[in-house]
Amino acid sequence: MKRQELIVSALDHGTVIDHIPCDRLFEVIRLLHLQDMTSKVTIGYNLKSAKMGTKSIIKIADRFFTDAELNQLSVVAPDVTLAVIRDYEVVEKRQVSMPHEICGIIRCNNPKCITNNEPMPTLFHIVDEDPSLVRCHYCNHEQDIKQVKIIPSPSLC
C-alpha cells in the first residue's frame, strides 16, 4: 500500500455515505446526530474525487438508517450516494430522494411565521409543480429550498 493513501479499515456492518460536498459535511453529521453515536464512525474530509474535485465520506459501523431518515439528507446534500454493508458486502447502493415532507430540518424564511416564534418543529411540503420550492405547513409561504437555512441542531421527526 502506498503511504499517502488513507488507511481505513473496511466496514463489516453499517452504512457508507459517499460524495458529500465538503461544505455540507458538518450539516450531514448534525442531521444524523453522529456526534451522539457510540459505534465507530470514520469521517473523511477534503478527499480527492474525480467527480467532484473534493468530497467527504462518512462510514458508520453497526447503524442502518430508515429511508425517511436518509431522504431528509437530500435537503442538505441531494447528490450523496449510500451503500449499506453487511458482512463486508455492499448489499444495497442508492441515491437519496426528495421526501414529500421535510420535518424539523429547515427554518421558515418568514419572520412572522409561528415556527420562528414558538418552540416547535417546522414542517414543509414539497411543491408538486416545482420541486425546488417548499411550502411552510404553517404560514403557507413558498420558498426556494436553496435559500432556506438549516436549523443548527435539527431533530428528525
Binding site: 412572522k112 411565521c113 409561528i114 416547535m120 409543480e129 405547513h137 404553517y138 403557507n140
Partner: protein, 315 residues
C-alpha cells in the same frame, strides 16, 4: 377524535361550502336560539380586532353559549413569555371551542394541531381569515342566488389583501371569472395567478377603473388601498383616487351587481353610494353573524339537520 377546526377555507370542498351556506341561511331565518346552551366559547384575541370579535361573540351569545376570553393581548401571559401552546392547552380545559386571532402566520394551524378542542381561525397575520370568506360567499350567494359562473371584480390592494386571496381560493369550485383592478405596486401576486391557471380559473387584468369596466360585473369587491403599503408615497398620492368608486361609475352597472367591502372603509367608496341599490357592504357585515353561527355549530359537531329541526328557537 376528528379535528373539526376551521383553519383555512382551502380545506373545504364545494359540498362543504354549500352545506355551511345552507346552515347560515337557517340562522338568518332564526338567529336567536339556545342550540349552544351549556357550551363555552373562548375568544382569544392576541391581536385586537373589535369587529371580528364582536361578530363571533354575538354569534355565540345569540345561540345560548357563554363566552370567555380576552380582547387585549396585553392582559395575557403571552407578555410574560408564555408560549402559545401553553395558553391553548390551558384554555382547552375550560372551553368547548377556541376562536383565535393571532398576529403570527400559521398560529391557527398550530393551535388546531395541539388543542384537544376545535379551533376557529379568526385571522392569523397576513395568512388566512376563513370566517370573512364564509360571509363573503354567503353574501354573494344571497345577492346572486348562485355561486356558479359569476364575474367577480376585485379592486384595490390585491397584493396584501388576504380577503381577496381567500375568496379566490374558495371560488375555485364555482367556475368564476375574476377581474383584477389594482395599482402596479399592489397587483395580484404571480403565485395566485399561477394558482388560477392551475385550477382553471379565468382571470382578466384591467388597467382602467370606470363605468365601462364595471358594466360587466356581478360582484364588485372593493378593498382598502393603504398608504403604508407603498414604498413610494408619491406613487400612493398618484394612484389613490384612481381606485375610488364614485356614484357616476355605476351608471352602466348590471341590475344584479352588488358592491362588497370587508370594511373598514376609508375613502375607497364615495359615501353617496351608500344609498344606491348596488351598495351591499353593510348587509355583508351583518351576514358575518350568520356565517359565524354556522361555523361555530359545525366545529362543535352540530349538523344542518339538527339546525333545521332545532326546537330551541326563540321567537
Amino acid at each position: 377524535m376528528e379535528n373539526r377546526s376551521l383553519v383555512t377555507i382551502a380545506d373545504h370542498t364545494r359540498e362543504k361550502i354549500l352545506y355551511l351556506l345552507a346552515m347560515a341561511e337557517q340562522f338568518e331565518l332564526h338567529p336567536n336560539r339556545r342550540i349552544l346552551d351549556g357550551r363555552v366559547v373562548a375568544t382569544l384575541f392576541f391581536e385586537p380586532s373589535t369587529r371580528t370579535r364582536l361578530s363571533f361573540e354575538t354569534a355565540a351569545n345569540r345561540l345560548g353559549a357563554r363566552v370567555i376570553g380576552f380582547a387585549d393581548p396585553k392582559v395575557t401571559s403571552g407578555t410574560k413569555g408564555e408560549t402559545l401552546k401553553d395558553t391553548i392547552m390551558m384554555v382547552s380545559n375550560y372551553a368547548d371551542v377556541i376562536v383565535m386571532r393571532h398576529y403570527l402566520e400559521g398560529a391557527a394551524r398550530y393551535a388546531s394541531e395541539i388543542a384537544p378542542v376545535p379551533v376557529v381561525n379568526a385571522g392569523d397575520g397576513a395568512n388566512q381569515h376563513p370566517s370573512q370568506t364564509m360571509l363573503d360567499l354567503y353574501t354573494i350567494y344571497q345577492t346572486q342566488h348562485r355561486l356558479d359562473n359569476l364575474d367577480i371584480y376585485l379592486v384595490g390592494d390585491l397584493k396584501y389583501g388576504r380577503t381577496v386571496h381567500s375568496l379566490l381560493m374558495a371560488m375555485r369550485h364555482f367556475n368564476p371569472t375574476f377581474h383584477f383592478i389594482a395599482p402596479d405596486e399592489l397587483s395580484m401576486p404571480e403565485s395566485y395567478k399561477l394558482y388560477c391557471r392551475k385550477m382553471g380559473i379565468q382571470y382578466v387584468e384591467h388597467k382602467d377603473f370606470d363605468a365601462e369596466v364595471i358594466a360587466g360585473a356581478d360582484i364588485l369587491y372593493m378593498t382598502r388601498v393603504q398608504r403604508e403599503r407603498f414604498t413610494d408615497l408619491m406613487e400612493y398620492e398618484r394612484v389613490k383616487d384612481r381606485y375610488l368608486l364614485k356614484l357616476d361609475m355605476l351608471r352602466k352597472a348590471k341590475p344584479n351587481m352588488r358592491i362588497l367591502h370587508p370594511l373598514p372603509r376609508v375613502n375607497e367608496i364615495e359615501y353617496a353610494i351608500d344609498d344606491d341599490t348596488h351598495a351591499y357592504y353593510f348587509q355583508q357585515a351583518r351576514n358575518g353573524l350568520f356565517a359565524r353561527q354556522a361555523i361555530l355549530c359545525d366545529v362543535l359537531g352540530i349538523t344542518l339537520d339538527q339546525v333545521i329541526n332545532d326546537n330551541t328557537i326563540i321567537a
